[in-house]
């Protein structure tokens, strides 16, 4: 039988606020255990939550970016369960009246087609602390620094049909929330965590199969592996006459093994009810419009601009628009040099290579968009060859300075003057009589290949400064003249 995979996602996005959702404790990552957990976070008696306006603003930004209905009135509720990393005995979250209603995110499939994934809703909630199960004399260690970190939980409709589509969605969402500046996107630190709901059904049928949920996937690769493994498992179970149990599963990316965590039959009944410590949040149109005015250019908009305005390929435009800072950087370089394709090659090539080697990101790039734009301008007007430009870039990266300053100081201006090039060519021909004889002896259709040697010699003699196009023409002309 042919099976169809159905995937829905729940994504926890840590909001990049300075403080927690209901207290003034810092949310900075990596602090000593429990040094960022105040009396409110610890749920000491008598403490009360006060809601962080920045968390609300970021949630509304997200809602606007996915074209969602914004909840003008939203309500916090208590989700009750006991676990030591949740000191209150309940998680403050939203259920019936979330801040972000129905919306959608368009993703691009591998074949270039577009697919719309509907968002069911997104709600605000608090993160829990961390349990450390290493050996503390048979006890568990609790770090509450993360407790109370603001999250939005985004819930999709079951609109994805393969691991590829799910990963494409995850990547699109990652670039969206980082471009909005509402999440740092650091998946290794848990800033973005994916739960995948997977079921299978016979192809052509409409009824959804029983689903399982694999929790807390924190890399795109693990997500893809976990989905593929789970689809395979479900098909095996069904084809051998078994039934899928609705359960929560955990995938271990290191061992590549998944196991059932708890079955939903014995799942907790969370007994939600509106939180009496928090009043309804009410926002008006003016607030929503004020937030809308702060929205940056989003990846999809950047991408469309790059394709239309600069004639970039779909792939290049996707890569460059995936991150807002990179997109703005590229745009500035392209504008400065007036050649989008050249700018794309350099931003994705030489610049990316250097950023990678120095383990830094574009925000901290020692070469600014203005500097790189100035360098590419000098390639455009033939002052520099591509190779010399790389040298200038290297100097720029190390010591700073504009392209013109470096060209001037190091005397790197490309030689385009044909008289000067002819001189060098004559010299090279005179110094390499043996190779010239071979050239003369060769069949005319083999000579093109042999030109490379002379090219290399001329470029070397000119210190790399001769214009390669001009050299090729002059060399060919002079050598062929010797063959007549």
């Amino acid at each position: 039988m042919e099976w169809e995979t159905v995937i829905g996602l729940e994504i926890h996005v840590q909001l990049a606020t300075k403080t927690k959702i209901f207290s003034g404790s810092s949310t900075a990552f990596g602090a000593e255990p429990n040094t960022q957990a105040c009396a409110v976070d610890l749920a000491l008696p008598g403490t009360l939550p006060v809601f962080n306006e920045n968390a609300l603003r970021m949630a509304v930004m997200f809602g606007l970016a996915i074209d969602a209905e914004i909840g003008k009135r939203s309500v916090f509720e208590r989700k009750n369960y006991f676990y030591p990393d949740l000191p209150k005995g309940y998680q403050t979250t939203q259920l019936a009246e979330p801040v972000v209603g129905r919306g959608h995110v368009d993703i691009e499939r591998a074949d270039g087609s577009t697919h719309r994934v509907r968002i069911h809703h997104a709600h605000l909630e608090e993160d829990a602390g961390k349990s450390l199960h290493e050996d503390f004399h048979g006890m568990t260690g609790i770090d509450l620094n993360r407790a109370g970190t603001p999250l939005i939980e985004i819930v999709t409709e079951p609109d994805m049909r393969s691991a590829d589509e799910a990963v494409a969605f995850a990547r699109t969402l990652h670039s969206l929330v980082t471009s909005l500046g509402i999440c740092d996107g650091n998946m290794a630190e848990g800033s973005l965590r994916f739960d995948v709901n997977v079921s299978v059904r016979p192809k052509g049928t409409e009824t959804l199969g029983t689903r399982t949920e694999t929790k807390n996937l924190n890399s795109f690769r693990f997500m893809e592996e976990a989905i593929e493994l789970e689809v395979e498992r479900q098909i095996d179970v069904l084809e051998s006459g078994g039934e899928i149990r609705q359960e929560t599963r955990l995938y271990n990316g290191d061992t590549k093994v998944a196991r059932a965590m708890r079955s939903k039959e014995e799942a907790n009944d969370y007994r939600y009810f509106p939180c009496p410590d928090l009043l309804p949040i009410v926002i008006d149109d003016a607030y929503v419009e004020a937030v809308r005015a702060t929205l940056p250019i989003l990846p999809a908009q950047w991408k469309a601009t790059f394709v239309e305005q600069y004639g970039l390929s779909d792939y290049d435009a996707s890569v460059l628009s995936s991150n807002n800072v990179q997109a703005a950087y590229f745009d500035q370089v392209a504008k400065a040099c007036g050649d989008g394709k050249l700018a794309a090659n350099w931003v994705m090539g030489e610049l990316a290579k250097h950023l990678n080697q120095h383990d830094t990101d574009i925000q901290a790039s020692p070469v600014s968009a203005e500097q790189l734009g100035g360098l590419l301008e000098r390639i455009k007007d033939n002052t520099l060859s591509g190779n010399i430009a790389k040298k200038v870039f290297e100097i720029m990266w190390q010591d700073g300075g504009s392209a013109d300053e470096i060209i001037e100081a190091k005397g790197l201006k490309q030689v385009t003057d044909s008289g000067a090039i002819e001189q060098i060519v004559d010299q090279v021909i005179a110094n390499n009589t043996k190779q010239v004889e071979q050239y003369q002896a060769a069949e005319p259709d083999k000579r093109g290949k042999m030109l490379g040697f002379f090219m290399g010699q001329v470029m070397k003699a000119s210190g790399g400064k001769a214009n390669p196009g001009a050299v090729t023409g002059i060399l060919k002309q002079k050598l062929d003249a010797l063959c007549d």
Partner: protein, 95 residues
């Protein structure tokens, strides 16, 4: 709506309340009585009534996103039964 013993046992478990065997009967009765009262309330026509999230007719005040709490770990952990390396220690929990 009348509760069964098993309902009361489940509710007690969810709230982590340890009931003595001889207490279950009494709770079954009193909780059922409360639900009977709710049934009576259900009879009221609420078609035109907006659901109430909070008894106060007010909206949530917001707090500026500025760090206002400094590290008070030592003070806060002075009342904890067990701590080590800055962590609170609790009876082992593992899923």
């Amino acid at each position: 709506m009348a509760l069964e013993r098993s309902d009361v046992e489940k509710i007690a478990h969810l709230a982590r309340l340890q009931l003595r065997e001889d207490e279950v009967e009494g709770y079954t009765q009193t909780l059922s009585d409360i639900l009977a009262l709710v049934d009576q309330l259900q009879a009221a026509d609420t078609a035109d009534v907006e659901p109430m999230a909070h008894p106060l007719d007010a909206v949530q005040r917001l707090r500026a996103d500025v760090v206002s709490e400094d590290n008070q770990r030592e003070l806060l952990q002075s009342v904890a039964p067990a701590v080590e390396n800055g962590l609170f220690l609790v009876p082992k929990v593992i899923e």
